[in-house]
C-alpha cells in the first residue's frame, strides 16, 4: 500500500500491537516465574513427603548392636525417584536401585559428611543420563528401643531424596505456553479489530477531506457535518478550514471582480480607440479632419496607457502588501509632501487653484516605500485639485503625533470642491468607482486613484477617512504609523522646542 508508513492509523495500530506484544512478553516472563515457584513448592512438598516415608522405612536392624537398617519393602515411592539413606556414622543404610554411580553423579557430588552438615530441606540439582533431578535433604532421628532405660539409642538419619523434574517443567511450560498462546491470539484479534475501529473512528475525518476536496474556484460550498464541528480533534481543523476558505473566497471574489472590472475598462478603452479609427474611415476626409481624428485617437490611446499604468500600480501596491509585509521601508512623507506640492503647483495654477501646505520642516518616516509615498500624496492632491473650483484653495496639513498610541502622523487634504454625494461615500475607495458619472469620464479619471491610496494606506496599517459636505468640500484624513526611529526623533524635537 502506498504511503502506509505515513498513515496515522497504521502507526497507531503498530504502536498498540507493540505495546500489547511487550505486555504479553512480560506476562509470559512473570507467569514463568510464578508457575515455577508454585510448581516447585509443591514438588518440594511431595519430595519431603516421600523422603519422610523413606525415613519411616528405617527400622531397627536385627543385629545385636542398636543399629538401624532400611527396609526397602516398606518404601513406597515412585519408581523413577532416587534416594539414599545414611546414618550418623556415614554408613549407607540403603539406596534406590536406580541411584546413579559416582561417575554419573559427577564430581559435584557431596560426601555424606558434607550432606550431614547441611540444613534439612536443602535442595540441590542433579543430572543423570541427561535427566534433571531435584534432590532434597532430610535429617531425621530414629530411636532404637525407646522403651529401654536411657531412652534407647538415637540415630541421626540423613535421607537424600530426588525425583526427576521433567514433569514439573512440563507443567510449567504448558502453563506458560497457554498464557503465550492466549496473548498471541489476543494480538491476532486486536490487530484487525483496532484497524476496523480506527477506520470507523476516522470516518468524520475522511468525510471532511471529501468535502474539502470538492471545493474549487467555482464552488466554495463547504458545509462540514455537525460531527466534524463537535469532535474535539476535528473542530480546530474544521474551523481553520472554514476561516481559510472564507478568506480565500473573499480574496478570490475580489480578484475576480477586479479582473472583470479591469476587462470592462480595457474593452471600453479599446472600443473607444477602435471606434475613433473606424469613424475616420467611414467616409472620405480632408487632411485637417484626418489630423484632428488622429489627434483624438492618440489622446484615446494615452488614456488607455494611463489606465493600464494605474492598474499595474494598484496591482503592485496590493501585491507588495502580500510580498514585502514588514520589510524595511521608510519613506519621508514630509519631504515627499513639499516636493509633490511644488511639482503640482503648475497643474494647480492651470486650474486657478492654490495649494497651501502646512507642514513641519522635518523628516517624518512612515513605513511606506518612498515611491508609494509620493504616489499617495500626489493621488490625493490631484484628486483634490480635480474637484476644486477655480479660485479656491486646497489645504494640505501634516502633523506628527509622536505621543499618540501608536505614534502616528496625520495627513490632511482639504478642498473646497463640490463634495461627495453621501450615497457615493462608502464606495469612494472601490476600484473603478466614479463618484460623479457625468464628469469624471471626461476628466479621464479611471476610478483607481483613491483605490491606490487606500491600498497604500492599508499596507502601512494606517487609516483613511473621508468627510464630505456636498457643496462645501471634502476633507481626507490619513493617519499613518511612524517608523520607530522617526517617532523617537520627533518626540525629542518637540521636547527640545518646548523647553
Amino acid at each position: 500500500m502506498k504511503g502506509v508508513g505515513k498513515s496515522i492509523a497504521f502507526r497507531l495500530i503498530v504502536a498498540v500491537l507493540a505495546v500489547e506484544l511487550a505486555s504479553s512478553l512480560l506476562v509470559a516472563v512473570l507467569s514463568l516465574g510464578y508457575e515455577r515457584h508454585i510448581h516447585f513448592s509443591s514438588f518440594d512438598a511431595v519430595l519431603r513427603g516421600h523422603a519422610d516415608s523413606v525415613l519411616g522405612a528405617v527400622q531397627d536392624a536385627d543385629d545385636v548392636s542398636d543399629n538401624v537398617m532400611l527396609d526397602k519393602a516398606d518404601v513406597h515411592v515412585p519408581d523413577e525417584d532416587i534416594y539414599e539413606v545414611y546414618d550418623e556414622r556415614e554408613r549407607l543404610l540403603g539406596r534406590s536401585a536406580n541411584w546413579p554411580t559416582a561417575e554419573a553423579r559427577g564430581l559435584a557430588a557431596a560426601t555424606p559428611a558434607q550432606l550431614a552438615a547441611e540444613a534439612s530441606d536443602a535442595t540441590s540439582r542433579l543430572k543423570i543420563d541427561g535427566q534433571h533431578y531435584r534432590l532434597i535433604l532430610r535429617h531425621g532421628t530414629r530411636i532404637v528401643d525407646p522403651g529401654e532405660p536411657g531412652g534407647g539409642t538415637k540415630h541421626q538419619i540423613t535421607v537424600l531424596y530426588g525425583a526427576p523434574t521433567e514433569r514439573v517443567w512440563h507443567a510449567i511450560d504448558s502453563a506458560v505456553a497457554f498464557y503465550a498462546a492466549g496473548s498471541i491470539l489476543l494480538l491476532a484479534i486486536t490487530g484487525p479489530l483496532i484497524a476496523w475501529l480506527l477506520h470507523r473512528g476516522l470516518l468524520p475525518l475522511r468525510q471532511l477531506a471529501a468535502l474539502a476536496a470538492r471545493i474549487s474556484a467555482n464552488d466554495w460550498q463547504f458545509d462540514p457535518p455537525e460531527t466534524a464541528r463537535t469532535t474535539a480533534e476535528l473542530a480546530p481543523l474544521t474551523q481553520a478550514l472554514e476561516s481559510a476558505l472564507a478568506r480565500l473566497e473573499s480574496a478570490f471574489v475580489q480578484q475576480r471582480t477586479f479582473v472583470s472590472d479591469a476587462a470592462h475598462e480595457l474593452k471600453t478603452s479599446v472600443a473607444v480607440i477602435k471606434s475613433s479609427l473606424q469613424l475616420l474611415s467611414l467616409r472620405p476626409r480632408t487632411a485637417a479632419e484626418w489630423q484632428a481624428g488622429l489627434a483624438r485617437c492618440v489622446a484615446d490611446a494615452e488614456r488607455l496607457e494611463e489606465l493600464v499604468g494605474k492598474m499595474l500600480t494598484l496591482a503592485r501596491v496590493e501585491n507588495g502588501a502580500a510580498n514585502a509585509a514588514g520589510s524595511a521601508m521608510a519613506g519621508d512623507i514630509g519631504t515627499c509632501l513639499s516636493r509633490t506640492a511644488s511639482e503640482l503647483d503648475s497643474v494647480a495654477a492651470l486650474r486657478g487653484v492654490r495649494i497651501v501646505v502646512d507642514a513641519p520642516s522635518m523628516t517624518i518616516h512612515v513605513p511606506i516605500a518612498a515611491e508609494d509615498c509620493s504616489l499617495l500624496v500626489s493621488n490625493l492632491l490631484l484628486n483634490a485639485l480635480e474637484h476644486s473650483p477655480s479660485g479656491s484653495t486646497v489645504w494640505v496639513g501634516l502633523e506628527a503625533k509622536p505621543d499618540a498610541s501608536p505614534a502616528s502622523v496625520e495627513f490632511i487634504v482639504k478642498d473646497r470642491g463640490e463634495g461627495i454625494d453621501p450615497a457615493a461615500l462608502p464606495h469612494i475607495f472601490d476600484r473603478f468607482y466614479r463618484g460623479d458619472p457625468s464628469r469624471t469620464r471626461s476628466t479621464g479619471g479611471a476610478g483607481l486613484g483613491l483605490a491606490i491610496v487606500k491600498a497604500i494606506v492599508d499596507h502601512a496599517s494606517g487609516s483613511i477617512h473621508l468627510a464630505s459636505e456636498p457643496g462645501k468640500g471634502t476633507t481626507a484624513t490619513i493617519r499613518l504609523p511612524l517608523c520607530a526611529q522617526s517617532a523617537v526623533e520627533i518626540a525629542a524635537d518637540s521636547v527640545a522646542s518646548s523647553v
Binding site: 479599446v270 471606434s275 469620464r441
Partner: protein, 229 residues
C-alpha cells in the same frame, strides 16, 4: 430616424453618435447615465435605443426592464463588455433585441441598428418599395419609376420615415421628433420647407403622376399611395 444612445464613456458616445449621424443619417441623442437615459426614453420619440450595460446610477439591464415594464416597444441594442452566454440570455429575456460585445465594429453596429429599426417598423428587407417608389436604405437612394431621385439628407430621411408606414398620417411634430435630435431647433416650418422640396423632386421624377405626399391640413403628412392606383 432618431436614436437614443445611453453610454457613460464620453469618447465612445461621441464616436458612436458621430458615426450614426454620418453614416445612416440618424438623429442621435446621448445620455451619460441610466437615469437620464430612462427619462429621455420616456419621451417615446426614438426609433432605437443603444444601451450600454454598465452605467452609473441605473444600469443598462434595469433601464431595459423599466422600458419593457411600461410597454415601450422601442428596439433596444445592448453594448456590453461582459462575456458569457448567461448574461446574453438574461439580456435577451429581459427584452433586448440584439447585443454587441465591446470592442465592436462600427460598421456592424450601424448595420444592426438599421436592421433593428427596420424590424421595429415591420420591414424585413433594406429596400423599401411602395408602388412606383423604391427606397434603398443601404445606399440611401430613391428611385421613382426607375428614375433616380436626388434628395438632400433631410429630404431622404423624411421619405424613409414616411415609407415605413404608407397611408399612415404623421404629424409635423412626430416627424420633428423622429428626425432631429435635441441639438436642433424645433421649427415646424423647417419640416414644411423640406416636405415641399421632397414633393417637388418626386413629382419631377414622374411628371404628370399623382402627388405622392399628401398634406392633411392640420394633421400632417402621409404617403398617398391608393390615389396613385
Amino acid at each position: 430616424m432618431r436614436v437614443l444612445l445611453v453610454e457613460d464613456e464620453v469618447r465612445l458616445a461621441e464616436n458612436l453618435a458621430a458615426a450614426m449621424r454620418d453614416g445612416p443619417g440618424f438623429a442621435v441623442d446621448c445620455a451619460a447615465d441610466g437615469l437620464t437615459g430612462d427619462e429621455m426614453a420616456g419621451y417615446r420619440c426614438y426609433d432605437l435605443i443603444v444601451l450600454d450595460l454598465m452605467l452609473p446610477l441605473l444600469d443598462g439591464l434595469a433601464l431595459l426592464r423599466r422600458l419593457r415594464t411600461r410597454r415601450d416597444t422601442t428596439p433596444v441594442l445592448i453594448l456590453t463588455a461582459k462575456d458569457g452566454k448567461a448574461v446574453i440570455v438574461e439580456l435577451l429575456n429581459a427584452g433586448a433585441d440584439d447585443y454587441l460585445a465591446k470592442p465592436f465594429d462600427l460598421g456592424e453596429l450601424i448595420a444592426r441598428a438599421k436592421a433593428l429599426i427596420r424590424r421595429g417598423k415591420g420591414a424585413a428587407h433594406p429596400t423599401l418599395t411602395a408602388l412606383d417608389l423604391e427606397v434603398n436604405t443601404l445606399e440611401q437612394s430613391v428611385h421613382r419609376n426607375g428614375v433616380a431621385v436626388d434628395l438632400s439628407p433631410t429630404e431622404y430621411r423624411i421619405l424613409e420615415y414616411l415609407i415605413h408606414h404608407p397611408r399612415r398620417i404623421f404629424s409635423k411634430r412626430e416627424l420633428l421628433e423622429h428626425l432631429y435630435d435635441y441639438n436642433w431647433e424645433h421649427h415646424s416650418n423647417v419640416i414644411e420647407a423640406h416636405v415641399s422640396n421632397l414633393r417637388r423632386k418626386l413629382e419631377a421624377a414622374a411628371p404628370g403622376a399623382e402627388p405622392v405626399i399628401e398634406t392633411m391640413r392640420g394633421r400632417g403628412y402621409r404617403l398617398s399611395l391608393e390615389t396613385a392606383v
